[in-house]
Each structure stands twice: as C-alpha cells, then as structure tokens.
Symmetry: C2
C-alpha cells in the first residue's frame, strides 16, 4: 500500500462501526455519511458527515472524496453510486447490484433468471392485483422497497387477512414450510476470488421478526452445507459484485434450499465471526473491496450470537444491566454499539458466546440469555 486509502462508508450504524474497528488494522483513512449526528461511527472515523444517503447530491459529493466507497445499509442512492463509478471511484457493491437488491421484485426476478432456487412469487403493482392472486395465498407480502428488519412484511394466510395487506408495489411470496433458516456469508474480490463462511443457523424473535440468536457450526448435514455454500457462491458470482454478501436461505422440510433474501454488506448473521472465525466478516469485506486475498474462514470456536435489543417499555438514555453476571460466564463477550438512546427492540449490541463445542456454547448462551437488559437510565 502506498499512501492512504480513503474509504467512504454510506451509513454510520453498528455495521459501519465494526467495519471501522476492523479497518484500523489496515491504516485506512475513513469517511462516514449518516443522517444521525449521534451515529455509532461518529468519533471513530477521520471525517464524519451528517447527511442523507438517499439523496443524490449528498452521496455524490461525499463519494467524490473517496477512493473506495462501500455501504453498511443498502437503501442508498444508487444513481449517485452509478455516476461515481463512471468517474472512477471504486464502488463496492456496485450500483447495479445495489439497485437489484433494493427492490425485492427485481431481486426475485434475478434469482429466477440465474436459476437460483427461491420460493415461488408474484410481483404486484397494487392491492387490486393482490385480489386477482388470492389463490396464491397463504403467502408473505413484502414491499418491493425499503423493507428492513421485519418492517414492510405481512403474512397473508387467506382472503380474511386482506385488511393487513399493503397498497404499494410488492412481492407476494409463497409461504415456505421450512425447517430451518440459515445464512451463508460469501465474499468476492475484484480478481473474482470467491470464498464462503461456514453456514450458521438463525433463530428469530417471535415478536419482532428480528434475528434473535444464531449459532455455528450449523446442525445440518455436510451435504446440505455444501449445497448451501455452492448456492451462495453462485449468487455472488451472478451479481459479479465485490464485497461480502449475506445469503439468507430456507431449509425446507423436504430438504430443499431456497434463497430468501440477500444483503450486500456485513450482516447480523456474521457478527460472531469477530470472535469465532479466523477472519471476521468485517475484515473479509475490507479484503474484498481492497482487492486483497480473501482470508481463511475456518471456525476457531463454536459460537452462539445473541442480539441485545432495547427492553420493551424503555425509551431514553441507555444503561446496561447484568453485565457483571453475564461476563462471569466463561466464553461470553459483549459488543455494545455506542448508541446513546435505547428504544424497544432497538439493536443496541450483541453477545458472542464461545465454547469448545457447540453444546457448551449453547449451554453458556442459555445461562446468559435475558441476563443483560438494555434499559433507559
């Protein structure tokens, strides 16, 4: 490396924060754009800009100062990304990939075009079209744009649920009778080198539809793990994108693997890699976008990852109860995100629980689950 690499990140939340934390080891000069002046990345980068990453001019002006531009959230202005690409900024993931992934309709069509297994679907312009597809229920209706962390998704069991349906353009996705939800994070650098992390199993919070916990290695046969890995590698190669891509998949009761959705950035399902794998997802993303050789993804320790969500009924300056008790359990590591204010179900941090075996990690995780509480002061 000669001179400083200026890395811009659109979004200054926890994913950006952990990316900066990993980036320190590479001597990067970092710039962050986020609408929140108290964003978790605020004091950790060389230049922090308050601004809207959905706005063309804001993203364009920000990106012009960067050698490499990346994202920690996909809801950014893709037109600005495209213009920056044309002007020689290395935009990873590229505008075309971001545009496809931003729109769940385009995303599903992309899978179909590239023979990537995914649940059957219909693209709907409006509620009127939903009426014409009642025979497709039960299904999930997902807004084409702006869905995030369970927002913009509704379950329609039958005609009786039409009152809950969205009016806006959406994707109607056949309900999958799945046994497990799994995730494989893959990386690809500009040389075209592709690498996959070992599969993780996700468990979702029944109420918030947020990832609640995950564990690795997954309790899934070697054959299925290999299949899922190949599918995930095929997805990233089809996008021809550079960076990391989290590929969330369903494992159906009849042994099929279906791609649910993808995120072209560090992902909640890869947080445990900081402590549990040779290379973390954050370092892997940096290696990919800097066109360095990808790192080994081997598991060092079995791990369970628990999200720390703001307690229901608590809104205000955050305080963390139970840290002493949780950290007294061997193998327990906290990662707080530097968010000043908590609100119900806000992602405030995560806990990684390591073990010599998955069973040990799970026992330890069970003993610390619900011990740490994020409350308002």
């Amino acid at each position: 490396m000669k001179g400083e690499v200026k890395l811009g990140i659109l979004g200054g939340g926890q994913l950006g924060r952990m990316l900066l934390q990993a980036g320190l080891d590479f001597n990067l000069y970092t710039l962050i754009l986020d609408p929140d002046e108290n964003a978790p990345c605020k004091d950790l980068c060389n230049e922090f800009y308050v601004g809207n990453f959905r706005d063309f001019d804001t993203v364009y002006e920000f990106g012009r100062n960067c050698h490499i531009l990346t994202i920690e959230i996909e809801h950014v202005n893709a037109d600005a990304l495209e213009k920056l690409e044309e002007e020689g900024v290395k935009v990873y993931p590229d505008a075309k990939t971001v545009r496809t992934i931003q729109d769940k309709g385009l995303q599903k069509e992309f899978y179909k075009q590239h023979n990537i297994p995914t649940a059957d679907f219909r693209i709907l312009k409006d509620k009127q079209e939903l009426q014409e597809n009642l025979s497709f229920l039960p299904a999930f209706q997902k807004l084409r744009r702006e869905g995030y962390d369970g927002r913009g998704v509704t379950r329609l069991a039958s005609e009786a649920d039409l009152g809950k349906a969205f009016e806006e353009p959406s994707v109607l996705e056949k309900l999958v009778d799945f046994e497990k939800e799994i995730s494989v994070i893959v990386a690809r650098n500009a040389k075209g080198e592709v690498s996959a992390f070992p599969m993780v199993e996700l468990s979702f919070h029944p109420e918030h539809n947020l990832v609640d916990s995950l564990f690795a290695p997954a309790n899934v046969s070697e054959v299925l793990q290999q299949q899922a890995k190949e599918i995930a590698m095929r997805v990233i190669s089809s996008f021809e994108m550079v960076g990391i891509l989290a590929v969330e998949m369903f494992l159906t009761k009849d042994g099929q693997i279906l791609v649910n959705e993808v995120a072209p950035r560090p992902h909640n399902s890869g947080h445990h890699t900081i402590k549990a794998n040779f290379t973390s997802q954050y370092e892997q993303h940096l290696r990919a976008i800097m066109n360095l050789p990808l790192g080994a993804t081997d598991i060092q320790s079995a791990a369970v990852m628990l999200n720390l969500l703001g307690e229901p009924g608590h809104d205000g300056e955050a305080a963390y109860d139970g840290l002493q008790d949780a950290l007294a359990v061997p193998g327990v590591y906290i990662h707080l995100y530097g968010k000043k204010f908590t609100r119900p179900a806000r992602k405030m941090g995560h806990v990684t629980v390591l073990g010599e075996s998955l069973e040990q990690a799970q026992q330890r995780a069970e003993s610390v689950k619900n011990v740490i509480k994020v409350k308002a002061l």
Copy 2:
C-alpha cells in the same frame, strides 16, 4: 453500566490504539494524552490531548477528567498518579506499582523481598561502583530508569567492556545462561481475581534487541508452564495491582525460571491474543480495570506473532510492500499501527499467523517472514 465510563490513557501509541479498538465494544468514553500530535490514537478517541505524560501538571489536569486512568507506557509521572488516586480517580496500575516498575533497581529489590526468583544483581550508583564490582561480570548493566525496547542496556563481558558502561544509576544483572525467554501475561481486577494467559516463547531480533517473533503455545513442559504461571500470578498479587502485567522470564539451561522484567500494561508478547485466544490482552486489561469478571484465556488457534519493523535505511512517510503476497497465505493477519512515518526498526505493525497446529502456524510464518517490508514512500 450506568452512564458513560470516562477512561483516560497515558500514551497514544499502538498499545493505546489496540486498547481503544477493544474498548469500542464496551461503549467507553476515551481520553488520550500523548506528546505526539500524530500519535496512532489521534482519531480514535473522544478527546485527544497533546502533552507530556512525564509532567506532573499535565498528567494531573488530564487525569482529573477521568473515572479510570490507565497507561500504555510506564514512563509517566507517578506523583501525579498518586495525587489523582487520593482524589478518587481509579488509577490502574496504581502509583506505587508504577514507581517500583519504572526503576529497575526498585523492581529487582521488590522481587527479592517477595521471594520471586530473579537473576542475581547489584545496585550501582555510578561507574565508580561498577569498578568495585568487576568480579560480578559477565553481566548486563541496565539503567535504573527510562530503559525501553533495548535502550539503556549494555552487555559487559569483562573489564575490557568498561568503555561501554553507563555512568548513571544502574542495575548490574548477572548474565543468565538461558535456554528460552518466555512471557506470561497475568491480570487482576479490583476484587482480587487473578488470571493468566498461556505462556508464549519469545525470539529476539539479534541486532535491535526487540521482540522479533513469538509463538504460542510454548514448546515447554506442562510442569514448567505451570510453575511460570504460578510465579507470574505471585508477582501480580505481590504488587496488588489492577490491570494486566506482562511477566518476562528466563528459562535457564538447568530448568530454573527467573523473572527478567515486567510491564504493567498491554505488551508486545500479547499481541497474538487478539486473534488466537478467547479473550485478548486488551479486553482483559479493560475487564480488569473496570472490575468486570476476567475473561477466559484459552487458546483458540496456535499462533506466531511477527513484529513489523521499519526497514533499515528508510526514513519518511511509510508504505507497506508485500501485503498481497503475505495475505495470500492462509491464517495471516496484519495489524498496522497508523504511524505516518517510518524509521529504521520502528514498530510499525505486527502480523499474526494462525494455524491448526503450532507447526502449521510456524510453517506459514516462515513463508511470510521478510515478505512485508515497511519502507519510506
């Protein structure tokens, strides 16, 4: 944790930088004092002060704004630490321990008082007293104060070497016919809980007298490992200090363990723990000074750590050659320290090489040794 913990660190070099990196996970509010306006910690803390940590007023004024005050270098003003302690700041390590360790004479006397095995020594006021102790040679003469990274140490084989001897107050230390140099990092929190990391073996650069590489687990019998661990734990308990303490020891050819010297802060011999152990030395130090339960120190992967020193003959803005080749080797991780300028033998970063076995890690390390070169632009 309620409200923000304000952690001050005296020194803003690479050890402070890696401590801040670990501190992010604990939502700490961080303040740094360093004489160099380009110190590696500059852009990573909440408040950065340029100032001399050897100056009473500077340290006192800085420390008054902190809840907890710690160090990344031991050559700080101990009187100011003492006054801050009296005023209720949690100073870890405490003034008394820092004062003892700053002075190699007091340090050696401390070992003697506490029955901690160490090489035989004489305390010398000046060169005149050295003349009176010629029968004690061969020995190392070490300045009582300010020695660091091989500076302030001279080897006196016989009277013929008197020309190289120091005039200042010093310790004359019997030459130890050692087989290995080893290090055990121990931690102690305010509750008195003590924990040790597994032993590492050090290998020194023949010219610079700096740690060149180290590896873990050490290739030493279980019995000796256990003895060394007990000695290191006895040292930290004798100091009654809070924080981590790196205990460097000699393993003599006749199977004795002798304490060489200690550092009451994160240490070069613990860098590998970031990648290779459950808990890193940096997180362990933070847990200790925040009076949290100490973390498990288990080895996740065998590791070799290589220091990246500035190339001879290169002085100026730093550039890093060979990263592509080095990172192509599985298990190789770089940690650059964000230093703008290189000079011969300056510590610019380190490389951790992981393996499933020590043999594998050592083979990989051999293939990357001398591949990365830190040059001037």
